[in-house]
């Protein structure tokens, strides 16, 4: 594209409009978290007239935010680790082997992506209950149950994306490794994985974000002990008050680690998405 005068105007307009669209909610979130409760309950103002940090202090007391934070972190990190490991193995099989059932597998896995969550919310709950009753393995109301659930949510997309990524790595590289005496797993470990690092990182980010932001299953599968942030934040509206400034402060604190992580690694994410999509 040439940077004609027309293009520059177009760019200016698009970037301004979209920039404002993105910016305004973020600005409101940040400034409202710095206002006293009285100010967020009154008419909206662009500039906080009474700056205060108390929402950031009080939010830990109004709601056991620290516990939810720990829960969300443990659940999301574990789900990511397992999901990525499982996706790597599966994607390697799909990308490098021709075997009976390959198409059936990829079709089935991809089609699970379109299952609406409500369809299996209650059944999954009942299955977890049965597992508990038969094997004594507690899955309802524990972090383990959430980890298993969330790791599967990101699995279809991860396998698909990684398989696309692996496909883009020349097979000659694996074959060279095989000639060198590595097995297929050696080829995966020494050749394919290092070359696919951006894809792996992208998948990891995707898994983490899926788990960190999930609401539906968390609303049914969590109890006070394993509650995650996604449902915990609702508790700022209590019987007596709605602490909007604390909600905004908490939303901000909860978002910062994910946003920073994502933005730092976005280059890989973009590359991963392309490899998957262009396949």
């Amino acid at each position: 594209m040439r940077e004609t005068q027309g293009f520059k105007i177009y760019r200016g307009v698009v970037l301004t409009v979209l920039g404002l669209f993105v910016l305004v909610p973020l600005y409101v979130m940040i400034t409202s978290s710095l206002k006293p409760l009285k100010d967020v309950q009154g008419a909206f103002s662009w500039w906080p007239s009474n700056l205060t940090l108390t929402p950031f202090v009080d939010m830990w007391k109004t709601v056991p935010l620290a516990r939810y934070f720990v829960n969300s972190t443990i659940v999301s990190v574990s789900a990511t680790v397992f999901s990525v490991a499982i996706a790597i193995l599966a994607a390697f099989a799909v990308s490098r082997f021709r075997f009976r059932g390959r198409t059936a597998f990829t079709t089935t896995v991809l089609s699970t992506q379109m299952f609406p969550g409500v369809l299996f919310l209650l059944p999954l709950f009942l299955i977890f209950v049965n597992i508990n009753n038969s094997f004594g393995l507690q899955l309802v109301g524990t972090r383990l149950g959430l980890i298993i659930t969330y790791l599967t949510f990101s699995l279809p997309f991860s396998i698909w994306m990684l398989a696309g990524y692996f496909d883009s790595i020349p097979r000659e590289l694996d074959e060279a490794a095989l000639v060198d005496g590595c097995g297929p797993m050696g080829a995966l470990w020494r050749v394919v994985l290092p070359a696919a690092r951006p894809g792996v990182i992208a998948v990891a980010i995707y898994s983490f974000m899926t788990a960190w932001g999930e609401v539906l299953f968390a609303s049914v599968m969590t109890t006070e002990a394993n509650r995650t942030l996604s449902v915990g934040l609702r508790q700022y509206s209590t019987q007596t008050n709605i602490y909007w400034n604390q909600i905004m402060a908490a939303a901000l604190v909860v978002s910062v680690p994910v946003v920073i992580g994502f933005l730092l690694a976005q280059r890989h994410f973009v590359a991963g998405v392309t490899a998957g999509a262009v396949k």
Binding site: F7, L18, F21, V24, A85, L126, G183, W189, M248, V258
Partner: protein
């Protein structure tokens, strides 16, 4: 996130070391089974979390799972096709509600997907040629996607309040309204829902399209410029066709996401969902949990799944045929 990759790889590496010592190429039996071994964990997880629950869900749609049987649900009597009849009887209140919700959801999905694609494309094209600050703007645009869904939606909820919200304040300052518009009740609820969903989704479209643009060779454009093609024609003749594979997948994914979007209505409206914002998954969730009629809820879910499968199948068929012809 780097923790994840470091942790993940040793697991994959273990069997590798063993086999390296033994020399795997001499064991064709293992190689035949290896792909299945590699798939096993994924298959197990999918079975446990997706496939079996889906089968159980289909089974639930054929039983009378109301509050009278929920404590002992294995004893619930068969309902035959009754749950489906109730859900599909559009002259009846329940069926009518489902149909309305379906209509709202179709409108919501089509508009949201279209808007997200248009905005994503506009931004991706604007950021195609390098200029100072491009990286920063690109990163900034990705923030809504990176933000946990509920955090962004809660902020919008706050902004869309009638008396204390930023949206009415802005409209009033710009003299576009009297600043007393309701955004979370009445028919405006759909507008709010689309705005919030688009705010979050367009950046994903942007991300994907931007990645797609990078893979278009620059000399294509140069050649077109030499031929005297303007930017608009270049976009139509080069950009759009090159992005076709990306677009095919992107539109489908966006549609599937928006059509079964639960987070946005759930967090935006809470318990007070207005009819104009009654998206179908939210409708089913309420039909199940508020009225304790899990059998009917399951039947509605199965119907939704069938609909999504038909749409996806038809989409893939049509687009597949067209690209073969092209």
């Amino acid at each position: 996130m780097s923790v994840a990759t470091q942790e993940a790889t040793p697991a994959a590496a273990k069997p590798a070391k063993k086999k390296t010592r033994r020399g795997p190429e001499h064991r064709p039996g293992l190689n035949r089974w290896l792909p299945y071994l590699l798939l096993a964990p994924a298959v197990l997880a999918e079975l446990l979390i997706h496939i079996i629950p889906m089968v159980v869900g289909i089974w639930m749609s054929f039983i009378k799972l109301t509050k009278f049987f929920i404590a002992n649900w294995s004893a619930a009597p068969s309902a035959g096709l009754n749950n489906y009849k109730v859900a599909l009887d559009f002259n009846n209140a329940v069926g009518e509600g489902l149909l309305k919700s379906f209509g709202v959801t179709v409108a919501f999905s089509l508009i949201t997907v279209a808007l997200s694609w248009v905005l994503g494309m506009a931004a991706a094209v604007a950021l195609q040629p390098p200029f100072r600050g491009r990286g920063i703007i690109r990163t900034f645009f990705l923030v809504p996607y990176a933000l946990p869904a509920y955090a962004g939606i809660l902020t919008w909820n706050f902004m869309l309040q009638r008396d204390t919200g930023a949206v009415n304040h802005v409209l009033n300052q710009l003299h576009l309204s009297d600043g007393r518009t309701f955004w979370l009740i009445g028919s405006n609820a759909l507008v709010s829902l689309i705005t919030v969903a688009t705010w979050k989704l367009w950046t994903f479209a942007f991300l994907t399209l931007m990645a797609g643009l990078q893979s278009i060779p620059g000399d294509l454009y140069e050649a077109a410029s030499v031929d005297g093609a303007g930017n608009i024609r270049q976009w139509r003749n080069i950009t759009l066709p090159s992005l076709r594979p990306v677009n095919l997948v992107l539109v489908l994914v966006l549609f599937l996401w928006t059509f079964s979007d639960f987070n946005t209505p759930y967090v935006l409206f809470g318990t007070a969902q207005p009819p104009a914002g009654d998206l179908i998954t939210f409708h089913i969730y309420n039909a199940s949990f508020l009225t304790w009629n899990f059998g009917t809820g399951a039947a509605m879910s199965v119907l939704l799944l069938i609909f999504l499968m038909i749409v996806t199948g038809a989409y893939l068929l049509v687009t597949g045929r067209r690209s073969r012809r092209a």
